[in-house]
């Protein structure tokens, strides 16, 4: 097939359509977080989980002397992939097809849901088994299948807990971390047919109950749906990285396997696995390697599913790609290291983000996939502000996504987009004033009047509109009695400047010896 002739100006690719899938909450982050913060159990569980995984991650990344070199390679491979995305996807398609698989393309979540539904219906089955997959969570596949009379069984233990409780995942890696063992026992007793009513809350016994329940599903369900961690363009090889063996079951036992993969998950070469099989497990669970990884290429006669379908999903990814800075978020390998180091995530939890993708990476990925100005007070517009910009996420990211810079860029874009918002007018006013020194001096004198608003502690706790949003969650120090410019122009300022200059001359003369050796 030839590439369509390129005509006219490039168009901005569309976001994930508004009102579809799970990329937008029903309220803003501050409102959702406000409620989540009252949940002591959530905070305790999250605190334990994030701190434990953090410590393990630091231990196993620290033992590799070439960890930074691996991060550099991983980052560059992903960036190179995004630069060469069309040809890599076409190569992947050709290789999968050559190996006996069928490739489908889905412009958005609704189209992917329709494709998967049709493929399941063609098998005649009204049940599918599922491997934990963020892409299918993002597009709301389970809900869509249910509407079409197809029951999707989540087989990852945490996803099963979430599904049986009709709940939402709260962490990328450990989606049911907000539940404690007693709740899980109750969820199992209510939701698993034929479960032992005497089931206790020992984690090993809960896992065993899931094993017994799901084994029958694994052995009898003819269709599985999975996501993919990597898709290798060079060979057409797909990969799922997991721990429990439910992935292997789903990828091996059914007759038909349908894999939904975001277009950004393609990797150029098979050998690139040598980088990502080191980066991902160590960053994700803090293990040297996860228990099981499956690699398969199309269909193998006599081994595994004999019908393999790969659904390549856009759903806003090309819109993210069109952003010079924001596209970095597409490099994400879904390890969740950034969640575990984030002071905001640790307290607010995953639900507050309202999206399949929580935490720092979610705060930059979600608005890019689904947009953040689809309506007035779009909940996604609050996500870029759900951060202290401390930078821990950037340090932890195995592919070096500069999340703080992306957050700042998205804040800028949001401010630009909301045309007449009071903050924008305020900022415009500031820009106008600061550009003209004479007016700036006058404005500074006027700001001195702000002291009249401050309490005895010198803090202003309630600013007038349009700045009241700022003061809702923080105090503002009162402006100083005298502006810096005014002070510098005074006799006291001139004296201080002279003293500082003399001090500088003296210290330079004394320090005229050899520099200390750089460590």
């Amino acid at each position: 097939m030839s590439t369509p002739t390129y005509l006219g100006m490039p168009a901005l690719p569309p976001r994930s359509p508004y009102g579809t899938g799970n990329l937008r909450g029903d309220r803003t982050f501050p409102k959702a977080a406000h409620d989540e913060l009252r949940n002591d159990q959530l905070r305790r569980n999250l605190g334990k989980a994030t701190h434990t995984i953090r410590a393990k991650r630091l231990a196993v990344t620290g033992e590799l002397p070439d960890w930074e070199a691996l991060r550099d390679a991983g980052s560059a491979i992903k960036t190179d992939t995004m630069n060469r995305l069309p040809e890599l996807l076409e190569q992947l398609e050709a290789k999968v097809t050559e190996a006996g698989g069928t490739v489908h393309w889905a412009r958005d979540g609704a189209e992917a849901n329709d494709i998967v539904t049709r493929l399941v219906q063609q098998t005649g089955s009204d049940e599918v088994i599922k491997v934990k997959s963020m892409a299918t969570q993002e597009i709301g596949l389970n809900e869509h299948l249910a509407d079409q009379g197809i029951k999707a069984h989540e087989t990852d233990l945490a996803e099963l807990i979430v599904q049986l409780a009709d709940d939402k995942p709260s962490h990328i890696l450990v989606p049911a971390i907000h539940r404690n063992r007693d709740e899980i026992r109750e969820i199992f007793r209510a939701g698993i047919p034929g479960v032992d009513p005497e089931l206790d809350a020992v984690p090993a016994h809960l896992a065993a109950a899931a094993r017994t329940y799901l084994r029958e599903k694994f052995l009898t369900t003819p269709v599985a749906v999975s996501g993919a961690n990597f898709g290798i363009a060079e060979t057409g090889t797909l990969s799922v990285v997991e721990s429990e063996g439910n992935g292997r079951m789903c990828l091996t036992l059914p007759d038909t396997l349908i894999t939904v993969m975001g277009i950004e998950k393609v990797l150029p070469r098979y050998a690139d696995l040598e980088v990502f099989l080191q980066l991902l497990p160590r960053s994700s669970t803090g293990e040297r390697m996860n228990p099981y990884t499956s690699l398969w290429t199309g269909v193998t006669p006599g081994d595994g599913p004999q019908n393999f379908h790969l659904v390549l999903l856009d759903n806003g990814r090309t819109a993210a790609l069109a952003d010079r800075i924001g596209r970095q978020a597409l490099n994400c390998i879904r390890c969740s290291a950034c969640l575990n180091v984030c002071p905001v995530y640790e307290r607010a939890g995953g639900h507050a983000y309202g999206s399949t993708y929580p935490g720092p990476i979610g705060a930059v990925l979600t608005p890019q996939l689904a947009g953040m100005d689809a309506s007035a007070d779009d909940p996604n517009s609050s996500l870029p502000y759900a951060s202290t910009l401390c930078g821990a996420c950037y340090d932890a990211c195995p592919v070096k996504i500069d999340i703080p810079s992306l957050l700042v860029e998205l804040r800028h874009q949001h401010t630009e987009a909301v045309g007449r918002a009071p903050e924008k007018l305020a900022m415009k006013a500031a820009a106008a004033v600061m550009g003209r020194p004479g007016v700036y001096r006058t404005a500074q004198k006027a700001a001195g009047l702000g002291r009249a608003l401050a309490g005895r502690d010198g803090q202003i706790s309630h600013l007038p509109p349009p700045f009241n949003g700022w003061s809702a969650s923080r105090d503002t120090p009162a402006p100083p009695r005298q502006s810096f410019r005014a002070w510098l122009g005074s006799a006291e300022g001139a004296e201080a400047l002279r003293a500082a200059a003399e001090e500088g001359v003296r210290s330079r003369t004394e320090a005229d010896g050899p520099d200390e050796e750089e460590q």
């Binding site: 369509p4 901005l12 550099d72 995305l85 190996a99 429990e244 040598e274 099981y292 090309t318 952003d323």
Partner: protein, 211 residues
């Protein structure tokens, strides 16, 4: 003429790249590759990693293979053993239970009735304690090493590499490949680790030091 989703997505990607052109990147590959370690070091490293994953580790010379395998199976009370069609039968000379040779048309539920499966392996990475199975005749199809509750896996020291890049370079990409690092595990309930969920709950590794 209707435009296909494929054409639309590829056109969107090209539009995105035109709107936000990015400079070509050089990929720095300064991480460790082509590492070698003496036999004793690879053996020690691998054994340490496997024990860390709660796998059972047995070390022997090739002439004791059948004896060690029989001991492992006896200790676990194995009566029905599954094997891939290409397994070296001499490994079973000291085992006294039933042997079921797997084939592609054996339904998966029948594998559930096996007490254990015994296979060889393709490659193993010492640094991460990862065994690579590639569905060769001495390892069998993927379902065989997945459904039974005990997997006894023979690893020859000559197939053990130091690190991940050395192991990946020995693989044949088109073969269905399974990486196994200890028995299955979950930490989904309050982050408490439970060994053994859906795959074999026990992994016993027999490392042959002179092969």
């Amino acid at each position: 003429m209707t435009v296909t989703a494929r054409e639309t997505i590829l056109a969107r990607i090209r539009d995105a790249q035109a709107l936000a052109p990015a400079p070509a990147v050089d990929i720095p590959r300064d991480y460790r590759t082509d590492r070698t370690l003496p036999d004793a070091d690879r053996l020690a490293l691998l054994a340490d990693r496997l024990v860390d994953y709660k796998a059972e580790v047995h070390t022997c010379t090739a002439d004791r293979t059948s004896e060690v395998i029989a001991d492992v199976l006896r200790e676990r009370g194995v009566c029905r053993l599954g094997i891939p069609p290409g397994l070296d039968r001499t490994w079973l000379s000291a085992y006294e239970g039933e042997v079921h040779t797997d084939s592609a048309d054996t339904p998966a539920p029948e594998l559930d009735a096996l007490d254990a499966v015994l296979t060889s392996s393709a490659v193993t990475c010492a640094e991460t304690g990862t065994i690579f199975l590639d569905a060769s005749p001495d390892q069998g199809r993927r379902a065989l090493t997945l459904v039974p509750d005990l997997h006894v896996c023979v690893v020859d020291l000559s197939s053990v590499t130091a690190g991940v890049p050395e192991a990946v370079s020995r693989l044949t990409p088109t073969r269905p490949t399974t990486l196994i690092s200890g028995p299955s595990a979950t930490s989904d309930v309050e982050l408490e680790r439970v060994e053994g969920v859906h795959g074999p709950r026990t992994l016993a590794v027999v490392i042959r030091t002179d092969v």
